[in-house]
Amino acid sequence: MTTMTDPPKASFRLSMLVYDTRYRSLTFQALAAVALALSFLYLGSNLINNLRAAGLNISYSFLGAPAGYDINQTLIEYDSQSSNARAAVVGLINTLIVAFLACITATVFGVIAGVLRLSNNWLVSKLMALYVEIFRNIPVLIWIIIIFTIMTAVMPAPRAFRGDEPEASMLFDAIAFTNRGVYIPAPVWGPGSMMVVATFIASIIGIFAYRRYATNLLYATGRLLPTTWPTIALLIVPSVLMFFIMGQPIGLDTPALKGFNFQGGIKVGGPLIALWFALSIYTGAFIAENVRAGIQAVSKGQTEAAAALGLRPRRVMNLVVLPQALRVIIPPLISQYLNITKNSSLAIAVGYADITATLGGITLNQTGRAIECVLLLMLFYLTISLCISAFMNVYNNAIKLKER
């Protein structure tokens, strides 16, 4: 392209649109734009013709109409007279709940399995390899169904808790595992409970302060303070002391079998547990592979250098290997989180009321507004996905190696 003299300025000719590389890209783009516009036009006109032929129209007014159905897990106020839009929001919240919970547990499973897979222990590392291969190579839908079936078929029904000699009994007389879900005691906040909560929060702040102090001391003087036991002590002792000082203000509302179901306490529904567990254990296998690849990507020299400095194996892992491995692990981890969110749409297979089940399921069935519902559904998921990836990209940039 570089020539010693400028080419003579030729006047623009039409043929240059095809033969001159400077203008050819314009031609291509114009063609592409026209082709795109034409295909949209074609699809749009087909849609309009088809709808007209069927006497239908596109209208979102159904969103304001009463939904007419009940949902079993609602975090915001909702009943069958609420609008379809509100049902969609209930579903959206449920989607976010299961996605959030599954992201956390999947990370935990994945990190444990990934680290154990590199363990010296032959049996353990083979077991973890088996776990990873089995879960990665079988569709998540099958896992969700299997785990849901385990939930319903293996766990006792609430009626098994009834009678003088029940077949099933509650754990610590407080937690009931049934095939409808797990019932756990709910805290009852009496007067003065705020003080306990405040103490608890204060002790968490205290833990961070102490750890920071220990790190600073280590860097400044080389003295190593113990952290594990003080952390646990700080976490528990002050809150427990305050709890008794205030005269045990926090009570427990334990679930009890009344009528058909357990009443009282907090219910974590069976479909939620099945979906949550299936998504976490399935995605955990993928995360385990990411974690293993990340750890193996840290060159052996780093480990050896750290060992040469006299660091103990756990510190080598925590201070040298993991921080470097994290940079490799985070990007694929983000896409796994996105996968969890998207896979949570399989909730309909287990009857969990996520947004696919409310907006894309019952609302769609009842109103027959298929196009509107599916478009809205895709819009919701797109927004969630874009938000997660935007948030994670910010985080990723923050921890990225600052190269100079």
Binding site: N50, A53, A54, G55, L56, G68, Y69, D70, I71, N72, D79, S80, Q81, T149, T152, A153, P156, A157, P158, R159, A160, N179, R180, K258, G259, F260, N261, Q263, G270, P271, I348, A349, G351, A353, A357, G361, I362, L364, N365, Q366, G368, A370
Partner: protein, 338 residues
């Protein structure tokens, strides 16, 4: 490379489809097959057997229409539809008629633009509970967990019923009947609710049907019937009168056993008109003269279809009840053939 084979298939398919005419009746005749939407499987109403042959009460209606139009009760393509896909399948022309337990409601008729051509089964939503619970009325179900099969009017009726009686419940929406059954049998729900006929059909497949009872409350009106698209009245008439022919045949005592004999000519002018030996009803519909005869021979008259698929001698064991002929105190009533 593989891309092109689809294009090739598309081109050919496009050419074949290009011949499609305006009316559904002409379409069906040109195609030589009736595309009939059914459920994905509900024993007694529409379910494939081990060899993949569809069988059931709704299937019988499809076969009758196919026999009336094409003269061949096997010229039916059964398209399984879910609660979600059925209306789109019909509206977009993928199926010619929908004979799936679909309740005739105002909004489906008016807003979704479908024509319900009649009612082949008067149903209502009921409840099934294990008899060990000792429940004798749906009003005692306060706090119960209820399994619902999604995609029907069931959810709405249920919400209305519990709201009206001011009792609480916990819904568990399930996609397919098989999974709802599994949930119910495992005790993950106390109650299973769907149309009473569906409950009976489901209970029939249980190991111990006797351990489950249907509660007396019927909380909704569910007139189930075949439906077609709005705006194609010729086709709507064909389906409507094929159904009516089955009903009239029972009323007049025309059965698959005696139809050959009767179609030689009888003293009853209405039978003659129905079977095409007198008048020109078939011609008016755009069908052959013996259309109704074919429809009835496909699987018998309404009563025979009922007895064979869901009647008291089948595992499903439904009594005629509301679905008896009007002469027997039921609601099944056909306008006259004249």
């Amino acid at each position: 490379m593989k891309k092109s084979v689809i294009f090739g298939a598309l081109t050919v398919a496009g050419l074949a489809a290009g011949a499609a005419a305006a009316g559904t009746l002409d379409d069906v005749k040109a195609r030589g097959k009736l595309n009939c939407g059914v459920t994905t499987g509900l024993v007694g109403f529409a379910a494939p057997d081990a060899n993949g042959n569809w069988d059931g009460f709704d299937v019988g209606v499809c076969r009758a229409v196919a026999a009336a139009v094409l003269g061949d009760p096997t010229a039916v393509e059964f398209v399984p539809t879910t609660g979600k896909t059925r209306f789109t399948a019909l509206a977009s022309g993928e199926i010619d008629m929908l004979a799936r337990n679909t309740t005739w409601t105002f909004s489906r008729d008016v807003d979704l633009k479908f024509t319900f051509v009649g009612v082949n089964y008067y149903d209502g939503q009921g409840f099934m509970v294990p008899s060990e619970l000792g429940v004798s009325s749906a009003k005692e179900l306060d706090g119960a967990t209820v399994c619902i099969q999604t995609g029907t009017t069931t959810e709405l009726n249920l919400a209305d019923f519990f709201r009206a009686n001011n009792i609480s419940y916990e819904p568990v929406p399930i996609e397919t009947n098989a999974e709802a059954q599994q949930q119910y049998l495992a005790g993950a729900c106390d109650v299973y609710t769907t149309d009473a006929s569906g409950l009976a059909a489901t209970r029939a497949t249980f190991e111990n049907p006797g351990e489950h009872v249907l509660l007396p409350e019927i909380i909704s009106k569910e007139p189930l019937g075949p439906l077609v698209r709005h705006g194609d009245n010729e086709w709507g008439d064909v389906v409507r009168w094929s159904l009516n022919a089955l009903v009239t045949a029972e009323e007049l005592g025309v059965t698959s056993a005696n139809i050959a004999e009767l179609s030689a000519g009888t003293n009853n002018p209405e039978v003659n008109r129905l079977l095409g030996t007198e008048g020109s009803l078939g011609e008016m519909l755009g069908l052959s003269a013996d259309w109704a005869k074919n429809a009835i021979m496909a699987g018998g008259n309404y009563g025979e279809l009922f007895e064979k698929n869901i009647g008291e001698n089948t595992p499903i064991g439904l009594a005629r009840g509301l679905n008896a002929q009007w002469t027997d105190g039921g609601l099944i009533y056909s306008p006259p053939f004249r």
